[in-house]
Amino acid sequence: MCIVSVISVISVAKNVCPNLVWSDLEAKKSMKLNFRVNGVEREIDAPPMKRLLDALREDLRLTGTKEGCGEGECGACSVIVDGEALNSCLAPVCQMQNANIITVEGLARDGKLDPLQQAFLECGAAQCGICTPGMLIAARALLDANRRPSRDEIKEAIAGNLCRCTGYVKIIDAIEQAASAA
């Protein structure tokens, strides 16, 4: 698009939207975003419709979060945003302003694994590993809201996370073990 037409779009929009500041309209290719990731304040410049998944993996080099299907079916890209699990492949980064994001990298604290990670290890709840970050995140979101979930509640909580290796039993065992250890 030529510069003149960009300017004309901006100036017309500016007239119609007196409440909008210039920076909103200049956010054509990228915008400044501030959010907290795993307890650390981060700032990135990113196109507003960039997927949170890509912002995490490319801008912040947090590659623990995986892409599976890219359509919200498999849960591999799950992260916790403001206390709720979501699929980061379906969230544009412009909706993350001031959000509190937890990825799989944020589960271990001070070199100590999260009880869920420990239980996944002990129960053999990972084989190929591609679903594991999403499983851990979905399980973390569950245990944060419900410290002693039933087996059915665990199944419900990971219903949006596909695993093609373990058959789920060991994953459910691991989440149950982590809950009872807590």
Binding site: P48, M49, G70, C89, A91, P92, A159
Partner: protein
């Protein structure tokens, strides 16, 4: 888009997520912080901007390169579109209310329980945390799982624009496959569902490939009032059996004032299987959908006896 120097060359040949998504990176997104700002943006850009809320439908299309827009209006921050409120006879549900909020709402559980039930069958938790009822309405999919409930409840959609607010009966809202009566500069503000009256019950039934994450092969909602096995009133609605979510007026009138017994139930259910107009597609066949429509209604009616 930017390539990192270390990965740049490989990325040109490997379908990295950002390459697949490259069109989105050229898009602008406006994030209005008030409804008035959103109206102004919609007035300016009309159909040249796409509204995004929870993104659970729209981002799927974008990731699959089936949708691209130069401008998006991100309404996620419009808190005035959130919340479930008791208005006496009706429950008002803000457009940005998520399925998780519907599932957890005591007002919904009490006054429109089928809506909570439908919300529980949509996607899984990650989708329920983000997907909104307003999004389900404007996405206008014949398979939208909350829609038969809204149709069976005779809900009302509240839409707004710079011209003001208007209310549209849910059963007049869709005009064809993925078509609605909304103007290009309008936005859904809320949906109102009448509360269940004494003696009324609501039912929801969905058949998908599996319990979670499944798009419906067929979905049904019923609202009915019965006295001692006699039907005083009944609203039957279905999804995934026609170009839009539909009501089944013939079967409804067949059942009005009927006393339920095995024969009446079977007759009505068989009639419904002929009243619907499903197609064969990737998710199911016409034959299967007609049979399941019949069986689903029989199952629901037998719960009323």
């Amino acid at each position: 888009m930017s390539f990192s120097p270390s990965l740049g060359f490989a990325k040109l040949f490997l379908p990295s997520p950002s390459l697949l998504n490259f069109m989105a990176l050229d898009s602008t997104a406006f994030s209005p912080t008030s409804l008035d700002e959103a109206y102004e943006l919609l007035t300016r850009f009309v159909s040249q901007a796409k509204i995004i809320a929870g993104g659970t439908d729209l981002m799927v299309l974008m990731n699959a390169r089936q949708l691209n827009a130069e401008r998006f209006i991100d309404i996620w921050a419009l808190n005035e579109l959130r919340g479930i409120s008791d208005e006496g006879e009706t429950i008002r549900i803000g457009a940005l209310t998520t399925y998780t909020q519907l599932i957890k709402s005591p007002l919904i559980q009490l006054h429109a329980p089928a809506l909570a039930e439908a919300s529980r069958t949509i996607g899984a938790i990650q989708i329920q945390n983000r997907g909104t009822i307003g999004g389900n309405i404007v996405n206008a999919s014949p398979a939208g799982d909350s829609l038969p409930v809204l149709a069976a409840f005779d809900a009302e959609v509240e839409v707004g624009s710079v011209r003001g607010v208007r209310r549209i009966g849910f059963n007049e809202f869709y005009t064809g496959y993925r078509k609605t009566v909304m103007a290009a500069d309008e936005i859904v503000l809320a949906v109102r569902a009448p509360k269940l009256k004494p003696g009324e019950r609501s039912f929801f039934y969905k058949v998908g490939t599996r319990r979670a994450q499944a798009i419906s092969k067929i979905v049904m909602a019923v609202k009915a009032k019965t006295t001692d096995g006699m039907i005083n009133s009944i609203n039957i609605s279905l999804g995934s059996v026609a170009p839009t979510v539909i009501r089944a007026p013939q079967t409804e009138s067949l059942l009005a004032n009927a006393t339920l017994n095995d024969e009446v139930i079977w007759q009505a259910a068989t009639h419904l299987s002929k009243e619907v107009s499903p197609i064969t597609d990737m998710r199911s066949t016409e034959h299967y959908r007609r049979k399941v429509a019949r069986n689903a209604l029989a199952k629901i009616l037998s719960q009323m006896v």
